[in-house]
């Protein structure tokens, strides 16, 4: 198949950034973060299965500044991907496809993801009694 002389569509940076395109890119980006973050779950579970010492080591890493930074990123990615994923599922059944609705639900998703991230971390610090 010859693909040499086909016209190319303009590249991403040609277009004006919009809330719709930004969230679309962020959905894919957070998906990659979460796919890698899922490997942390394997690390956590296998070290727990290995024994208390390995579990303590894994927990110390997660509770350290780098671990917390990673977990913060993963948790924001989770809440964003979750909320925006639900937005995608509504589109799949044909709901909310008007441009006004798409933009509105986009801002709603961004707000919900930020609120959930801040809320869950506040709850975690309060429950752990470290605040």
């Amino acid at each position: 198949m010859s693909t040499g002389n086909r016209p190319l569509s303009p590249h991403l940076q040609i277009y004006k950034p919009e809330v719709t395109s930004a969230l679309s890119i962020l959905h894919r980006l957070t998906g990659v973060v979460l796919a890698l973050g899922a490997l942390l779950l394997t690390y956590w579970l296998t070290s727990a299965a290995y024994g208390p010492e390995a579990f303590a080591k894994a927990h110390d890493f997660m509770a350290g500044w780098l671990g917390r930074l990673i977990l913060f990123g993963v948790s924001f990615s989770l809440f964003f991907h979750l909320c925006n994923g639900v937005r995608h599922l509504f589109w799949d059944i044909g709901w909310g496809l008007e441009l006004r609705q798409v933009k509105g639900s986009g801002y709603l998703v961004a707000l919900a993801a930020l609120s959930l991230t801040v809320g869950v971390w506040s709850a975690a610090y309060m429950l752990a009694g470290r605040m």
Binding site: T42, L45, A48, L89, L127
Partner: protein, 131 residues
């Protein structure tokens, strides 16, 4: 228009088997199916992790020892890893050009996520059924 839910195609287009997607629509459907399942599973998981922030090994063992918790955790792992590798597959298919590079990336991806998924499930079984 009545469609085969597992394929999201008209019966005629399915019989003809034309189009670059071939069986691609069934992957699209499985990605949505796993997405729907992950919404309640992750709400449960986040709520559970919030109660386990102290990192005490014994309380964590007690939590995973409960039948319902280990069941939901195994479901979460299986569905999450399947969803994650499907998502990464789409990204590889979009951005990795050349058949050799694409196919080898997909093989590494699939086997890595299968390996980590089985490792995680085995860890949960070992922890919940007692070592």
């Amino acid at each position: 228009m009545l469609r085969d839910k597992a394929h999201m195609r008209t019966p005629l287009s399915h019989v003809r088997g034309l189009g670059s997607a071939k069986e691609g629509t069934s992957l699209w459907w499985v990605q949505r199916l796993t997405a729907v399942a992950l919404v309640p599973l992750f709400l449960w998981f986040v709520a559970s992790v919030l109660t386990l922030t102290t990192g005490d090994y014994e309380s964590w063992r007690a939590w995973i020892g409960e039948f319902g918790n280990s069941l939901l955790l195994i479901l979460l792992i299986v569905v999450l890893y399947h969803h994650a590798q499907l998502g990464l597959q789409v990204i590889i298919e979009d951005y990795v050009h050349g058949e050799a590079a694409k196919t080898s990336s997909l093989i590494v991806l699939k086997l890595a996520y299968l390996f980590c998924g089985v490792g995680s499930v085995l860890s949960v079984l070992k922890l919940s059924l007692g070592s």
